[in-house]
């Protein structure tokens, strides 16, 4: 046990927790004022909902003793056997509970990311049920495959330092399924749907950037050189992405925008997540810069693809996550972290292939299960609020309160 490592991981867990309220502000500023509280509320209640799911059975399913590499067993139900002693397969120097609660924050923010695809129309009760089922049937197994002791993708050698696949591709493709099944907002394409408070969005993006240091550097699970590498990569990739988005937008549309820079920063944070502990800082800058460019182009393509992914979860998290996971297979370098692997650019094309497999498996699994869950909920609870409730806004129709009063 190491007191420095323990302090660092506990502090990192608190940083990662802050990302979810940060995400609430990031998303909240982009919706119309009549839906602000509903958007904040979904992000906020998910902390409580998935927090308890994690304590009761989520952690056990994700990190319990493996059942054939596919799911954790039930022996950690109710945090049984998860105590203050280290669990050596995950970390020898921090308490098992510290690892568990650090991971809890990842389990919380992942379903929260999907919220951006369905805001302004999704029924709140159905949202709760979907999020609980999705965390249990999608997040927990995928986390087990990639990070769990004995997980089958981990065994394959897939590199995912802090959750590019488990968190961002996973949530991003679920968001695609949700946007397709739930359908467009009323008036999408004809009415102006203008962000009601971009300063709020910018503050949210800043909190995400800040919290992400816990997400990525904390994933070293120790206060050591690897944590510093991940911290440095996280920062410089994000700088590259914010500039990348600004430049491409300036070239394409003629003006650099604040929403663009905030979105670019998030795209960079997403893309560097799987790579943070495996690449050098110059590689991180390239990964980040290209993430800004690619995600901007993905967001531009959305109207042509015809689905209403309201806040671009697909364009930012799925595309950024895909790029990051594949880029890890290109730029990874054992000279940076010998627990990792060399990527294609360092003479090991096989690693790129492994990354492709991990990405495809996650895309297909998350998309299919999300689709099935949404279809079942559509037939039972219903997915959308009534059309007049949507016009009135979800703050008043779902929560009987308003965000702003004169």
């Amino acid at each position: 046990m190491n007191s420095g490592d323990t302090a660092f991981v506990l502090a990192s867990a608190a940083l990662v927790l802050l990302m979810t309220p940060g995400l609430a502000l990031f998303y909240g500023g982009m919706v119309r004022s009549k839906n602000i509280l509903n958007t904040l509320m979904q992000n906020y209640i998910i902390i409580a909902l998935i927090g308890l799911q994690w304590a009761l059975f989520g952690y056990s399913l994700a990190f319990g003793p493996t059942q054939g590499g596919f799911i954790g067993g039930l022996s950690y139900l109710g945090l049984a056997e998860v105590g203050p002693e280290p669990f050596k397969a995950y970390s020898e120097t921090i308490p098992h509970q510290a690892f568990m609660v650090f991971q809890a924050m990842f389990a919380i923010i992942t379903p929260a990311l999907i919220i951006g695809s369905w805001v302004e129309r999704f029924k709140f009760s159905t949202f709760l049920v979907f999020s609980l089922l999705w965390a249990t049937l999608v997040y927990d197994p995928v986390a087990h495959w990639v990070w769990g002791d004995g997980g089958w993708l981990k065994g394959l050698g897939a590199l995912d330092f802090a959750g590019g696949t488990v968190v961002h591709i996973n949530a991003g493709v679920a968001a695609l399924a949700a946007a397709l099944i739930i359908g467009k907002r009323r008036g999408y394409g004809t009415e102006a749907m203008i962000p009601h408070n971009l300063p709020m969005t910018v503050l949210g993006a800043g909190l995400l950037w800040f919290g992400w240091f816990g997400f990525n550097a904390g994933s070293a699970l120790a206060a050591n050189g690897l944590a510093a590498i991940a911290f440095v990569n996280t920062h410089f990739a994000t700088c590259g992405a914010a500039l990348g988005w600004m430049i491409i937008e300036w070239l394409v549309r003629g003006k650099p925008t604040m929403l663009g820079v905030a979105s670019g920063a998030v795209a960079g944070l997403v893309a560097v997540t799987p790579a943070a502990g495996f690449v050098g800082p110059m590689s991180a800058i390239i990964i980040g810069f290209l993430a800004g460019v690619l995600c901007y182009l993905a967001v531009l393509a959305k109207p042509k693809l015809g689905y209403d992914d309201s806040l671009d979860v697909v364009g930012v998290h799925m595309v950024g996550g895909l790029w990051g996971a594949l880029a890890t297979g290109l730029f990874a370098c054992k000279a940076v972290n010998d627990a990792g692997a060399d990527g294609l650019f360092f003479g090991n094309p096989a690693q790129f292939g492994i990354q492709v497999v991990a990405v495809l498996v996650t895309l297909v699994y998350s998309f299919v299960i999300s689709l099935i869950l949404l279809k079942i909920l559509d037939a039972t609870m219903g997915l959308r609020v009534e059309s007049d409730e949507e016009v009135a806004g979800l703050d008043i129709s779902e929560h009987q309160e308003t965000g702003y009063s004169l």
Binding site: A192, M193, I194, P195, R253, K255, T257, L259, G260, S263, Y296, V299, L300, K302, P303, D312, G315
Partner: protein, 112 residues
């Protein structure tokens, strides 16, 4: 008595107010309003989605003054609020039937 209602560019409020102050206008009411005239709206772009924004922010100033001062007030507002570009706004002048000061019950010019 006349009521002068001027719709102007928001950034012109300060110079208009200062100039009216100097000519000892006793009071005014200011409202943030939205609207369009010949200028029409503008286009805004958010993450590549382009929206036509029809109603632009303007400021509405209302001043009530004795008949003989009305013309010079209108002139002052024009001088201060004019940029020469489209979107400078409009001024409407109305006759006022009565003015009553609530505190004292005074009426007419004495109440302005």
């Amino acid at each position: 008595m006349k009521k002068i209602e001027a719709i102007i560019q928001p950034f012109k409020l300060e110079p208009v107010k200062d100039a009216l102050h100097k000519m000892s206008v006793q009071g005014m009411t200011v409202t943030e309003v939205k609207g369009f005239g010949r200028q029409k709206g503008i286009r805004e772009v958010y993450r590549g989605m382009e929206y036509q924004v029809d109603f632009l922010p303007k400021v509405k100033i209302e001043v009530v003054a004795p008949d003989e001062k009305a013309e010079s007030i209108v002139k002052t507002i024009i001088e201060q609020a004019r940029t020469g570009r489209i979107g400078d706004g409009k001024i409407f002048v109305y006759p006022v039937a009565e003015v009553i000061r609530i505190r004292t019950g005074e009426t007419g010019d004495a109440a302005v």
